[in-house]
Assembly symmetry: none
Homo-oligomer: 401 residues x 2
């Protein structure tokens, strides 16, 4: 019996409410030997109070030693095994710019390139054409029509864009067309399985028509397509957990990931305070609330230890407002660690605290990496967090008599 | 996606260096209630310093409660699931005496026995014939030729020896010929699968020719064969981890296990100091170094608590020399526990310490079983140690975007 089969069997309706606050990249490292991490340095009275009355743990997003991207990191927190449910690159890129993929869609990442008169690539990134110029070329590509499918082209940044093909029976198993070299033409889209034959033909037709349209574009007269992928098939929160789930996120990537799990996007908040306003405003309409805070990750990526500390303190200050709403289960965690020391995502376990009337206290008074490692949840796979959340919300029945 | 698929996808080349020191049977138990283990008794300033600046954990070689032999214990440390990758008894015995198995080999363990005039077994162990007499009989067996294959016969100890059959299309699925009783003849080698028919015939032919040759050997005129097995197919370190791995071991068994994982055997060290000399001498030529120290196990097997303590202290004294080489990741652990109290291998989790600039400190100042259990790696499957080593050496890319 898989974990999802189990939770489908045991999930029960309830009026209890669960709040999952994800401080992106929360976990850290000391910047100097013998020192403290960002979280251990921050003054966090509200988070410490949660630790004191709740249970701590350290979550492993994928496997020990494996550093996750935002996709696998969030899928795990949402209760999906990130090694079983993979989001293809094209689907993640579309998700990241807020394009809502449907069940009949195949998305690919596009790069503009420049081609010489013979059709050979002269620059694989079209001189990193500025975003505004690129957007104008993307605009022209809207006119390309391929019989039998709808196509959507959306700008990303500089030479990068997304193409989405929409039609029955499409399949993401199509090879990249980037030859990874100059002086040769882009590759033809080749099917990697029998089911993807038609998709490869459609992509080839799109590229051909686009090339004829862009023949007079001096800076971007060609393209390569990579990471063809359909929308991953995730069972949704309503189906899996019987939860009406709301997502309160600022950035398109996290909104997209929440949509993949069937959460409803709520509000248009830009700041953390506005996010909590949104939470309060939609409190009656949902059972589960995912609130995403980006800046603990971006400061870590920048290697800005002191800034990351401040962002953690900023988060700490809104915790009492969330508690005032009376959630039955309140979780604060991250999707992965982003130590300022490494200026990147890392594999280190992620500090996690849960406060609920049903928590077994573990004797820690401060929310910190080293306490979490020894906490009542121990070091646990992130994909199990939702089982713990459901249990503490008294939303899971007994397994077996 | 399996762990090996994942690591193949994510492993990156780097100039970082990883040292894995395996103190065989390191873990222990207090000899009296309320007392300390061997490791907790030993004076280990260097290992304690590693614990203070690094991360501790307790590894589980196979599963909780499962006591491993040397084979599964090392396979797990090397990153192979010991329940998935099994080394057949014949292959392990050949490996243990330093016989390098090839891809076309099937090895079996042999026992000399005595047969009466009717061909029935009178002693299944040939009176535990002394090793030097047994070796002379093995020498005679070198003359046995079976058409279509090469055969190798090597002495082990007393009545035990190893036979290796080398030829295309051989298969290890052949039943033991030991009837586990006297007064009956040895069994015929029977194939356990269709693919092993020819191998069984070859083994039968070998036994028949050997019997005719040994008819005048009063102390060992017969044999039984057990544990037929081909070389296990382990993906090697270069292929899996992109590591050029060196093994610095004294005993043939551990050299053999390292060879199965594709490590290169380096040097001819006999003492621990010579092993560290070898490590220093080959430092530039490899990325990964497995250094095996036997005597923490053998003293445990002897039930010699104080001797095991001394051996741990002997190991501690060479740690600064290893650190002086500047490894990016230095790990000290064992392949299993061998508590003096039990005079045998045991299932208890194995104390593990890793020191690296990328370690998250866990607040422990002493390398001991009880600290390791609560350490930053927690209690973890030994097969994940290599993922952690690779991550801390910054040799693994990000999983998913």
């Amino acid at each position: 019996m898989t974990e999802h089969e189990l939770v489908r069997e045991l999930a029960e309706k309830s009026s209890s409410k669960i709040v999952l606050v994800v401080a992106d990249g929360l976990g850290g490292l000391p910047i100097e030997a013998g020192g403290r991490t960002e979280l251990e340095t921050a003054r966090t009275p509200a988070l410490d109070a949660l630790a004191a009355r709740g249970t701590c743990g350290a979550s492993v997003p994928v496997l020990p030693g494996i550093t996750p991207g935002s996709g696998p990191g969030h899928l795990a927190l949402f209760g999906y095994d990130p090694l079983e449910f993979r989001i293809g690159r094209g689907a993640l890129e579309a998700t990241g710019i807020g394009f809502e993929l449907g069940p009949d869609d195949v998305a690919a990442r596009g790069n503009f390139c420049t081609l010489d008169a013979a059709g050979n690539i002269t620059d694989r990134r079209a001189g990193r054409i500025p975003s505004e110029e690129s957007a104008a070329v993307v605009e022209r590509l809207q006119a390309v029509r391929v019989p039998g499918v709808e196509t959507f082209v959306r700008p990303v940044k500089e030479h990068r864009f997304v193409v989405v093909f929409r039609g029955k029976g499409l399949d993401g198993a199509v090879a990249d067309t980037d030859p990874q070299a100059t002086g040769v033409p882009p590759l033809e889209p080749q099917p990697l399985s029998a089911a993807a034959g038609r998709t490869a033909e459609i992509a080839a037709e799109f590229v051909d028509r686009a090339r004829r349209l862009l023949v007079d574009e001096p800076k971007a007269n060609g393209m390569v397509l990579r990471g063809f992928a359909a929308k991953p098939r995730l069972p949704g929160y309503e189906e899996l957990y019987r939860l009406r789930a709301a997502a309160i996120a600022v950035y398109p990537m996290y909104k997209g990931l929440a949509r993949l799990a069937g959460m409803q996007l709520v509000g248009h908040a830009k700041t953390l305070d506005e996010q909590v306003d949104t939470l309060a405003a939609c409190w009656q309409d949902h059972d589960f609330f995912f609130l995403h805070f980006k800046y603990t990750d971006s400061t870590g990526e920048d290697g800005a230890f002191a800034e990351k500390v401040k962002r953690i303190e900023e988060l700490d200050r809104v915790i009492p407002r969330i508690e005032a709403l009376g959630p039955d289960v309140l979780i604060v965690t991250g999707d992965h660690s982003t130590p300022s020391l490494l200026k990147s995502h890392s594999w280190h376990p992620v500090p996690t605290v849960m406060a609920a009337a049903t928590c077994r206290p573990d004797g820690f008074e401060k929310f910190s990496e080293r306490n979490c490692t020894r906490g009542g949840f121990g070091i646990f796979p992130a994909k199990h967090l939702m089982l713990l959340a459901m249990a503490h919300a008294l939303r899971l029945g007994k397994y077996g008599a």
